[in-house]
Symmetry: C2
Subunit: 192 residues, 2 copies
């Protein structure tokens, strides 16, 4: 039996990263989120800021190419995805853990013991959270969330050939705007 892994994909602003941390704490297993960025940076030689920006979203400059359908992944983002795949598979091989985002649900699709989770919430709920967390730094939170959704969706589709957030990809999906973060983590724990 391979290590039991939890992957948590999440809509921007849904609080999925917080839910991941709470669930990992309840289960006493590591949670890889920012730590994952550092490991990918270390392994790839890219700066962690670059990894953070390009490891799950199509970023601004590439977006117009992607949207036009003429873009199949820049060389840089392609090689980043390869490193990301290796790092995530290595972590899954080492021991039970929670992995946040970065197409881990797809990368570990052949791993026999994965609980795949998707956290979502209404646009209104997510924009309100972004406003609370960032204040004036994000002048239009709704537009920010919409753009982030779009960039993540296209990134996921480009690299996995699947639809981001499609119900069939997940063992469980939870609306964190209706269910408290604590309760979401309880459900994840109970399914582990």
């Amino acid at each position: 039996m391979s290590n039991r892994i939890i992957t948590i994909s999440r809509q921007p602003g849904s609080g999925g990263n917080i839910i991941a941390r709470i669930a990992a704490k309840k289960l006493s297993i590591p949670c890889y989120d920012e730590e994952l960025i550092n490991r990918i940076a270390e392994e790839s030689g890219f700066h962690s800021g670059f990894v953070d920006k390009h490891s799950e979203d199509i970023s601004g400059g590439w977006f117009s190419f992607a949207a036009s359908g003429s873009f199949y992944g820049s060389a840089l983002q392609d090689s980043l995805f390869k490193v990301q795949t290796k790092v995530i598979r290595d972590l899954a091989g080492k021991g039970p853990c929670v992995i946040v985002g970065r197409c881990a649900d797809f990368i570990l699709r052949d791993h026999e013991n994965v609980l795949t989770v998707f956290i979502h919430a209404s646009l209104e709920f997510r924009a309100t959270r972004i406003r609370e967390l960032n204040g004036d730094k994000v002048p239009d939170p709704e537009q920010f969330v919409r753009n982030k959704d779009k960039m993540r969706k296209i990134y996921y589709q480009l690299f996995t050939d699947r639809k981001w957030g499609a119900v069939d990809n997940y063992t469980v999906t939870l609306d964190s705007g209706t269910i408290s973060f604590e309760k979401c983590a309880d459900i994840i724990q109970s399914l582990y």
Copy 2:
């Protein structure tokens, strides 16, 4: 505060109707599934067999029109949907309950106290269940499930203008091929 309602939408063969019954029993509230068909039949004057066939799937004869995009609901199915809407709203007004399928998640979208659930499972899991339940009566269970999916999807889209099984429509979605029926019902109970 309005009555707390649970709507359970489900892919054909996923066992959603069984999960609904278990959850309702755990919560000691009524579960409307076949009973719903009888009530719609009584209210509409249609035979219960007709209601069963046409209250959540586009049936064979109409399918080619629907697929061509030139069909916006036959007069019969339209009036059936109106009765269905009335019956479901009446039930939700009477007391807490579980309602299975029949676009109840959409019909009760403005009801302030609804837990919306979607039960899904892999094609393989569902085809195996259909085979076990029906034996030779269904010669090609995979094809049967695929057709049913298609008919339900088109029905839902025609009458709700939403995408059937889209994650945003549901508080929680559960993969009943991975999570046991009993456990699915436990999660629903814990969210009530």
